[in-house]
């Protein structure tokens, strides 16, 4: 006899289930269940995944539901609701939305009155099955709890009518008889129908241990103290129907009722008809024609000398695809968003595969001309794929909130919500949580492995927004996020993909903020005004002098620049893409570099390969190139080629690539390509299974790279000022940015007490640091100072101290950093005076008691001397995290026995293979995942940077020194490859005189 489980929880109930939704579906289907109702607690978090898996089990019914928490007074109960049809689903979503509104995270619930009112008013009330939890089914239903009102089932009967069922469980826990008696009484008394339930929390008994551990994690008690929170046995798994039938032999009506009830629920998530907002289409015009008109207008702007024929062709093709797939409204929505940003002078740019689209280029969403760059539209969208497009747009990170609020304002909270992100267990967190739960119990590592990828809690996607034409809460529940002012749908981006719901990614990019500030300082309107292809800019990039430049400032990138030596824009595209796990694992880097250096001939086995791979010297560096090879040489259609690309990307996860590989192999062979080439190609393809950039994405970023590099090359003071004002961003701490600016001839001055300003600014080419660099001072306080100084300049140190209202610790740091020099006081004299003030309350009339030089009237300061050079630098670092006086190494070098030359000299003059010693301040420590345990570090001094390389065994020996000290002498062998220089370390020792010294931020282990 058929059976369907009506009460199952997955691990998407967040620490309340111990199986993935897919596992539950697979197991239920394997056992011959006719269906399964997934009813996670307080949400539908797991339904999309279960729905996707259920597609591979024809004939298997997934019933969509959730459990809602109801409250009345002190009583609390769980009610499982299953959607019979679309209206039932809409009601369920609304109830779940209501249950989360205004509640702290993790405590969703509905007061009975609110619940009843919402159900009674909705047309879907008859389209829900309701199964209240009773005794022994977890949280007892209202009337089972102490103090609960009688007749709760009668009230539910009034709301749901024949949709109300009485769940009966047989769990062999000694309470089955009691439970059955209560259920029989209810059925007899109110004429209700029983349904057998398994109250499933995991798909097989073996998961019971993990479930117990998760209970303890949730309840924050160790296993030994969990008491009755743990079940006495493992019966709450998917049991064989035959066994269940035997357990319910005394009440077959309940057993049969389960499958019958599941059969009444015909709703499927496939019925969700999601519509994108349509308000951007003018009345009387269709979305596609309007989009086409905008695209043509944009094309004329992009090509003022006439739109090329191939662009027209490409636009027509793309519009056809967009029209067939019905996504015109999506593009119009993105276009509006970008137009809004431009109207507010917010720099923005589309990233990722959207840059493959001529439509996006002409609409101004992206910044790369895909036709001229030969990019493949099908990488972005294809009819074969049939998935909605995904356009990510970067905005200035400081102004992204304006864009988000624009979306909320335009569409309202019922039509706009952010996409969820499920935070899943990774080894470290899993080990920490489970170790606390297990205490002394065995099996920690096994459970850690088992819990990997289990949902831990819900968070927000960094910028994904779902927008809809109608109320979103009729499609998916929406709940408040932890961040104030944000609401989030209960599905993540993968779920939205499964269900065909589109999202727009509103991302933040710090570099755009920095570029905006730089453009403002230069009086430029946008990036298009920056002169292209300046030789000096490329010369600077080729030297690796790119500290602070977006995408090419990391140690690894600088190292590559010295070898690759970019000379033109496309070289930057390659540079951005090549230092990634994909090309490294695929072993594409060295062949490319060899060919670039002329150490290896560039040959092509087929004329088409020269066309496809010519710009990368015959080495496929981008997935798009593999796609084009498949199209032009193996007979794939563009859509099929995109499928190949996705198969490559998910190489490890599934076996799709194996099937396509054979076809690719045959096609390439038929085109006359040699076995050697084919083998090399497949080896390189393996690298694309790791993380790699699409060519369009690299090109989009390369635009920003060039812009930043040009500004740094031509206007280093502007560059430094803009970067500092856009902090935090980038790889390096502000002190490195300032030291780099000084190396470029920029004069830097400390924050001023006389003319305080929050932001750094330029005056006559001199970089005046802003108060944003002063430790312990908020923006509000600094701007207050600014206003005060504008209103009435500070007349002296006492006036400043009295009016500034700064904490004593900040004043002391300012004093010792020499900030009071503008009032004629050196460091210690200023401190001596300040110390007198701290014991005097403002009410006592500080001003009257002090002279202009902070001394109580009639008292002279003692002779205290001045800090030495290193101490002066150290004190500046304490105050503003950097030094205007000089680099700490300049003073420390003199204290060392046998001082070493500056790093720039070592780099310029060092011979490959020679033994060297180098002194410097450590600013980077890294251990990349692809480096197999090799550790990289970077030393800095007043002249520049030098990379260090520590093999694994060397690092094991020197780790204590590397991690405990910031000022080091490294000894080793110099390695040179063109302009890329590093030291293979053999010894490390701390420098003398640096103990208790400068506390400089460093980029560590990221």
């Amino acid at each position: 006899m058929a059976y369907a489980e009506l009460m199952a929880r997955s691990n998407c109930s967040f620490l309340r289930g111990a199986s993935h939704p897919e596992e539950l579906v697979d197991r239920a289907a394997a056992l011959g269940y006719s269906g399964l109702a997934l009813a996670d607690k307080d949400g539908v978090y797991g339904l999309a995944k279960a729905h996707l898996r259920a597609r591979s089990h024809p004939g298997f019914k997934l019933v969509c539901g959730a459990e809602v928490a109801l409250e009345e007074g002190d009583a609390r109960g769980g009610l499982v609701l299953l959607a019979r049809d679309r209206t039932g689903w809409a009601l369920l979503c609304r109830l779940l939305t209501l249950s989360h509104a205004g509640r702290p995270k993790g405590s969703a619930g509905l007061a009975w009155g609110d619940f009843a009112a919402a159900v009674a008013a909705h047309p879907g009330r008859g389209a829900l099955l309701a199964l209240p939890r009773g005794a022994g089914l977890g949280e007892g239903f209202l009337e089972g709890a102490p103090g609960g009102p009688p007749g709760a089932h009668a009230r539910l009967l009034g709301l749901f009518g024949e949709g109300l069922r009485v769940p009966v469980g047989r769990f062999l826990d000694g309470l089955d008889a009691r439970r059955t008696a209560a259920a029989r009484a209810l059925c007899a008394g109110l004429g209700l129908r029983p349904v057998a339930v398994g109250d499933v929390h995991y798909h097989e008994p073996g998961r019971r241990r993990l479930h117990d551990a998760l209970v303890c994690v949730r309840e924050k008690v160790p296993l030994a103290e969990a008491g009755w929170a743990l079940s006495g046995n493992s019966e709450r798994h998917l049991r064989e129907p035959g066994r269940l039938e035997a357990l319910f032999a005394d009440w077959p009506e309940a057993f049969e009722g389960a499958a019958r009830a599941a059969g009444e629920c015909s709703f499927s998530l496939d019925e969700l008809r999601y519509r994108y907002p349509t308000e951007w289409v003018p009345r009387g015009r269709g979305a596609l024609p309007h989009l086409a008109r905008l695209a043509l207008e944009g094309a004329r702007r992009r090509y003022p000398n006439g739109v090329p024929r191939e662009v027209h062709r490409q636009l027509a093709h793309e519009l056809r695809v967009v029209g067939r797939l019905g996504h015109a409204d999506y593009f119009l929505t993105i276009h509006e968003l970008v137009a809004f940003a431009r109207s507010r002078r917010i720099l923005c740019q589309g990233r990722g595969s959207a840059a493959n689209s001529a439509l996006c280029w002409c609409l101004g969403i992206t910044a790369v001309d895909p036709v001229r760059s030969g990019l493949l539209f099908e990488r972005f969208m294809s009819e074969e794929r049939g998935e909605p497009p995904d356009i990510d747009v970067d905005f200035e990170h400081e102004r992204r909130e304006e864009v988000l609020q624009h979306l909320y304002g335009r569409y309202g909270r019922d039509r706009a919500a952010m996409v969820a992100a499920v935070i899943r267990y990774r080894p470290r967190l899993a080990r920490a949580d489970l170790a606390r739960a297990l205490g002394d119990a065995p099996g920690l590592e096994g459970l850690v492995a088992e819990v990997q990828d289990f949902p831990r809690h819900l968070s927000i996607h960094s910028g994904g927004f779902v927008l809809s034409d109608g109320p979103l809460i009729d499609c998916v529940p929406v709940e408040p996020a932890r961040m104030e002012g944000r609401s989030v749908v209960q599905w993540d981006k993968y779920d939205l993909d499964t269900l065909g719901m589109m999202k727009v990614d509103v991302l933040a990019l710090g570099m755009l903020s920095a570029l905006r500030r730089a453009l403002d300082l230069l009086g430029m309107e946008d990036l298009a005004q920056i002169p292209p292809e300046e030789p000096d800019t490329y010369a600077m990039i080729a030297r690796g002098d790119t500290l602070g430049v977006f995408q090419i400032e990391s140690r690894a990138q600088m190292n590559m620049l010295g070898r690759l030596r970019p000379e033109r824009f496309y070289d930057l595209v390659i540079e951005v893409a090549i230092v990634r796990p994909g090309p490294i694992v695929g072993r594409m880097v060295h062949p490319y570099l060899r060919r670039r250096k002329g150490e290896e001939p560039v040959t092509y086995e087929h004329p088409a390969l020269e066309r496809i791979l010519g710009r990368t010297l015959g080495v496929p560096l981008f997935q798009e190139q593999v796609m084009r090879i498949a199209v032009e040489l193996a007979g794939f259609s563009p859509g099929e080629a995109d499928e190949l690309r996705r198969a490559i990307s998910s190489w490890r996860a599934d076996g799709r690539f194996a099937a396509l590989r054979e076809r690719l192999e045959r096609g390439l062979e038929a085109s006359g390509l040699s076995p050697g080439f084919r083998k090399r190609l497949f080896d390189e393809i393996r690298g694309f299974a790791e993380y790699g950039f699409p060519e369009s994405h690299a090109a989009s970023f390369a635009l920003l790279v060039y812009a930043g590099a040009w500004i740094k090359s031509a206007h280093p003071a502007v560059f430094a000022c803009a970067l500092l004002n856009a902090q935090p961003l980038g790889f390096y701490a502000p002190h490195s940015l300032v030291d780099d600016a000084k190396r470029h001839g920029v004069e830097v001055r400390a924050p001023s007490l006389l003319e305080p300003a929050w932001d750094c600014r330029l005056e006559g080419g001199v970089l005046l640091l802003g108060w944003r660099t002063v430790a312990g001072v908020s923006e509000a306080r600094a701007r207050g100072l600014e206003a005060q100084a504008r209103e009435r300049p500070f007349s002296g140190p006492a006036d400043f101290v009295r009016r500034a209202g700064l904490p004593g610790a900040v004043l002391r740091r300012l004093a010792l950093a020499g900030a009071f020099a503008c009032f004629g006081l050196d460091e210690r004299a200023a401190l001596w005076g300040l110390l007198a003030l701290e014991a005097l309350a403002p009410a006592e009339g500080v001003g009257g008691q002090l002279g202009l030089d902070l001394e109580p009237a009639g008292e002279a300061a003692p002779e205290l001397g001045r800090p030495d050079a290193f101490e002066g630098v150290r004190l500046e670092y304490e105050a503003w995290g950097l030094s205007t006086r000089g680099h700490p190494m300049r003073t420390l070098r003199a204290l060392q026995p046998r001082p070493c030359p500056p790093l720039a000299r070592i780099k310029a003059e060092g011979v490959h293979g020679s033994r060297v010693r180098a002194d410097g301040m450590l600013i980077v420590r890294q251990r990349p995942g692809t480096a197999k345990g090799v550790v990289f570090a970077t030393l800095e001094d007043e002249s520049g940077l030098l990379d260090l390389v520590l093999w694994r065994d060397v690092h094991a020996r020197l780790a204590p020194v590397l991690e405990a000290h910031s000022f080091l002498r490294a000894g080793g062998v110099l390695q040179r490859d063109r302009d890329s220089v590093s030291v293979l370390v053999g010894s490390l020792e701390p420098l003398r005189g640096a103990e208790g010294g400068v506390r400089a931020r460093s980029h560590d282990w990221r």
Binding site: G232, N233, L835, A836, P856, P862
Partner: protein, 469 residues
Amino acid sequence: MSVACLRFPAGLPKAGLRALGEACLRFSSQVALRGEEAVFVETGGSRLLYGEARLRAGLGALGRRFAGAAPARFGWGAHAGEALALARHGAEGTPRERWPLEALHAYASPFTPDEAVARAVDALCAGLRGLGLTDLGGFLALPERGWGGRFGADAALLRERLGGRLLMGWPRFEPDPRLEECAEFLEESEGAADPDPAAFVFLLQSLCSRLSARLRGRALRASGLRLRIGLERVRGVPDAADRVLGVELAVPVAEPTGLRRILGERLAADLAARPLGRRPVRLTVEATSTVPGFHPQRDAFDRREEEVESRDTLLARLAQRLGDDAVFYARIRARHGAEWTWTRRAPPATPAEEADLGRASLAARGAVPAVPRPTRLTRLPLPLLRAGDWLLYFGGSGKGRRWRALDWEGPERVDGLWWMASGAGAEGAPPVDRDYWRVRTEGGMDLWVFCRQGEEARAGALWLRGWWS
């Protein structure tokens, strides 16, 4: 005034430092201790009595004796702070002005480590270093005027102390009083060479009463006892060591009868095994270790404390006889497996812990199971044979029983106490995979039986685990 400081940089255990302090009392009545670090001895008067050289030698010898391998550092100063500062930071001949700023800690709080004071001194030192100062000389060279305003009242006080003024009061060290009672054998019959243990009873009773009174007066209970029998010295015969008996009490006791019985039983057993062989002359009873007792003020009308003491006395005697493994307090736990619903716990030390033993607290803690559990458990599961309606147990030596089963309620499946695997935690119990039934029998007795899941279930093997009485 003149103060000597013996400082142990590596620290000295508290008991050792107190013993050293006690030994120093021979040189001066004014001795003070600082944590585990130092002993101060006021030597102003003693110098006149002993002479400085002898004092130094004597204190030095004491320091070596108590510290052993750990060297002690000496410091002599006009007051404790100066002596401690010298012992910490000074070297012979180094002027005070060259001592580092950290020496201020010694002046600020010589006798008692105080975190708040230490933080204040650290802040002061940080401020002084900010001014470029590194030693006491720089500190003292700062102008006095405005000192308090700049560095605070505490700093001003510290400066006075450096000048030997406004010193801290001396916290006099007093050695721990011994909880010891002693009496001498007066009667010839009491002091026979191999006396009957009964001879000790009268003396023991008196000593235990006095010791009990002292314990109760201090709101203490004895957790360790020592009985010492002083033996007669005979000219020409090598001295016999005193007979010393130590008793560790798993359940601390303060009640006199309990003390007497415990010591009496211990003594009787010892004398039976090893006769004294010499006349006893003195009996000493000492409480070697104590724990807090109940109410310091006894309520004369409250019998609860007496009942608790009687119970504790009984338990202590049982533990002495049967061993700590067999006699202990247990805490109930909420567990599905009935055999693992308790765990060993320490004896209640306070009235609150005493109340926690009660049944009401079990319910409050939710420790009472939803499914009734039998009132008795067998020590081990007993194998049953099922023959029709009958359940048969074949115990050895004619202890077989049989019951006729009328009704089987269940099963209650209990499995997966996996986290109690052997070797894990105090229980060390193996996991349990059982189906339990409550069997109503013809005689009215309800049995609690189980079978193990799997093989045994298929074979029909049954075990008796307990019953309801």
